[in-house]
């Protein structure tokens, strides 16, 4: 029986930990600036969202956090005059490259919106919509619907009323339905734009629990106004703020600080982050 060399084991564990720590970012922003026509909305943003991590974007209103989020799955394309400079890459591939199909980007990078927006269809058809429009060849749509609803922690509540309109669900259930709808097209990343701002505290808690569960399968990026929420759910936090231009007075969003959530909330490096976290402004 060999005695275990504890120091060696510890060293191995360290490297193992280190290897686990380093994961190449799934989504990476490199000097990203976003314009609406001539208006510079966000300037020079650099950060990455890692695999199976929850990244929270926080900051005061008008700091461009939603703009950044919506540029991750090219939803900004729908706004006239919106334009991205710099590189946003997904697994190292520039998603704004001219060869890239925005539809394909949106399938792989799903999005949940601020206000629950179920389609005016049955619960079942809401989930099946994504797989259908994407032409998924599935053996059983029923199984896919059940799987998506189960993952979104909604199955038990709706399994007996799949044919009923999604509008009959409560706000929190509708939001989980929207998450299930996103999951059904098997994305790798889920973007959430203030997903709980229209929900009551209990529904919010359920969504947060759900995010923790989804974390093992997806990369999640969440925009939130609620700092406690960021502290509760996020692994990494990016703090944005808006700075007025000296001459024109246009307010442009900038990334102030990005790091582990604990570090951002407990020992922020930048004075502006500290002021915001401690509630001195915002």
């Amino acid at each position: 029986m060999n005695p275990i060399d504890t120091t060696e084991a510890a060293a191995r564990a360290d490297t193992f930990e280190a290897a686990r720590e380093y994961r190449p970012p799934v989504l990476d922003c490199d000097s990203v600036s976003i314009f609406y026509d001539d208006f510079l909305a966000v300037h020079d943003v650099n950060f990455g969202c890692g695999d199976n991590e929850i990244t929270a974007l926080i900051g005061p209103s008008g700091c461009g956090k939603s703009t950044v989020l919506r540029s991750f799955n090219r939803m900004n394309d729908l706004i006239e005059g919106a334009r991205v400079e710099g590189t946003i890459s997904y697994h190292g591939e520039d998603i704004y490259h001219s060869d890239v199909d925005a539809i394909e980007v949106r399938r792989r990078i799903g999005m949940v919106f601020q206000k629950p927006n179920p389609f005016p269809k049955s619960i079942y058809d809401n989930i099946a919509y994504g797989p259908r429009v994407n032409g998924f060849k599935v053996d059983s749509m029923d199984d896919l619907v059940e799987e998506a609803l189960t993952k979104a922690a909604l199955w038990d509540e709706v399994k007996d009323k799949l044919k009923q309109s999604a509008f009959g669900l409560s706000g929190g259930q509708q939001q989980r339905l929207c998450i299930a709808r996103t999951i059904a097209v098997r994305p790798e990343v889920i973007l959430m734009d203030e997903p709980c701002s229209a929900l009551d505290p209990i529904a919010t808690l359920r969504i947060e629990d759900l995010m923790h569960e989804l974390r093992s399968d997806y990369t999640i990026v969440i925009v939130t106004h609620n700092m406690q929420q960021a502290a509760r759910v996020a692994d990494k936090t990016a703090f944005f703020t808006a700075e007025a231009h000296e001459v024109t007075g246009d307010r442009t969003g900038v990334l102030v600080e990005f790091g582990d959530t604990a570090q951002i909330f407990e020992s922020p490096v930048d004075k502006r982050t500290e002021d915001y976290i401690s509630g001195r402004f915002g």
Binding site: I103, R107, G110, Y129, G130, N134, A184
Partner: protein, 299 residues
């Protein structure tokens, strides 16, 4: 008597906006009420006198007999069938075209492009043009193509289609616009193309509004006589219209025809046919309202 007076007084006071009780505001309110009463009384008198005039001829012969020189033997059968043929054809020609145009303008066209804005303004303007102009336009177009026999179902339907096309476009655009932007975004966010989004999500959500608008537009076309008069719709038919190339006359034209005759019997017939037309129009409008109330989407 006193209580009645009290009730009236309370009603007036209660209804005046913001509980205003000055003499001038109450006088204004009374004037508004009288305006409504005048309009309703006028309508009621019109309907009641028409029903009384046509009562004796509101029987099955109206539906089964053909026009004749003797009012006792005459009926509106070809006109009723002609109206159905023309309106049916109009619906087939207008609704797909109008819905497609509206989808393009609302969902795909670039709003900053001057040409699209020009089209938009003109669709609005076209909806306000007198019906007879469309008859003249159709007449001129037929002349260009050398069509001499104008009394055909499809020609009448063509003129009525142009008449109601702007109305259908506007109604469709309104109901597409009523579908919230979040629904489109939700659809695009799961990887649907813009066309899939329109066909599978936005358009189905707008169908109740489109149906309502289209039925109201068709009921307007049903009551229209002027463009068809120009296109030779005023004919004496002794057969049933039976196809797109068939000769036709419609109910408003038949009524117009009978009203112009000297014999009293024809006037009775005209009144009876008017009541029938009125019932058809009310039925269509009721259907439109029923569809709206039943399927209206509350977002």
């Amino acid at each position: 008597m006193r209580t009645v007076q009290g009730t009236i007084e309370r009603t007036i006071r209660g209804r005046a906006k913001g509980g205003e009780t000055s003499a001038s505001s109450i006088a204004f309110l009374v004037v508004l009420w009288l305006s409504i009463v005048f309009a309703l009384v006028f309508l009621a008198v019109l309907i009641v006198t028409t029903i009384i005039d046509g009562w004796n001829r509101l029987d099955s012969r109206l539906f089964t007999e053909y026009p004749a020189s003797n009012p006792e033997d005459a009926g509106a059968r070809p006109a009723i069938l002609g109206s159905l043929w023309v309106i049916g054809t109009t619906a087939f020609m207008t609704i797909p075209l109008g819905v497609a145009a509206a989808i393009h303008l609302e969902e795909f066209a670039d709003r900053n492009n001057w040409f699209n804005r020009f089209i938009e303004v003109n669709v609005q303007n076209l909806a306000a043009i007198p019906a007879v102009i469309y008859g003249m336009l159709t007449l001129a177009a037929l002349g260009l193509f050398g069509v001499t026999n104008k009394n055909m179902v499809w020609v009448g339907a063509l003129a009525l289609s142009m008449l109601i096309l702007p109305v259908v476009i506007i109604a469709t655009r309104e109901s597409l616009r009523a579908v919230p932007e979040e629904i489109r975004q939700g659809s695009l966010a799961v990887g649907a193309t813009p066309l899939q989004t329109v066909l599978r999500n936005t358009l189905p959500g707008a169908v109740p509004g489109i149906a309502t608008g289209s039925i109201l537009a068709l009921s307007r076309a049903l009551g229209e006589a002027a463009p068809l008069l120009l296109l030779g719709g005023l004919v004496f038919l002794s057969f049933d219209p039976n196809g797109l190339m068939s000769g036709y006359t419609t109910m408003p034209i038949q009524i117009f025809n009978w009203t112009g005759r000297p014999q009293e019997g024809f006037h009775e017939l005209a009144a009876a046919a008017s009541v029938l037309l009125l019932v058809m129009l009310l039925a269509m409008n009721a259907l439109a309202i029923a569809i709206r109330n039943r399927y209206q989407q509350r977002w």
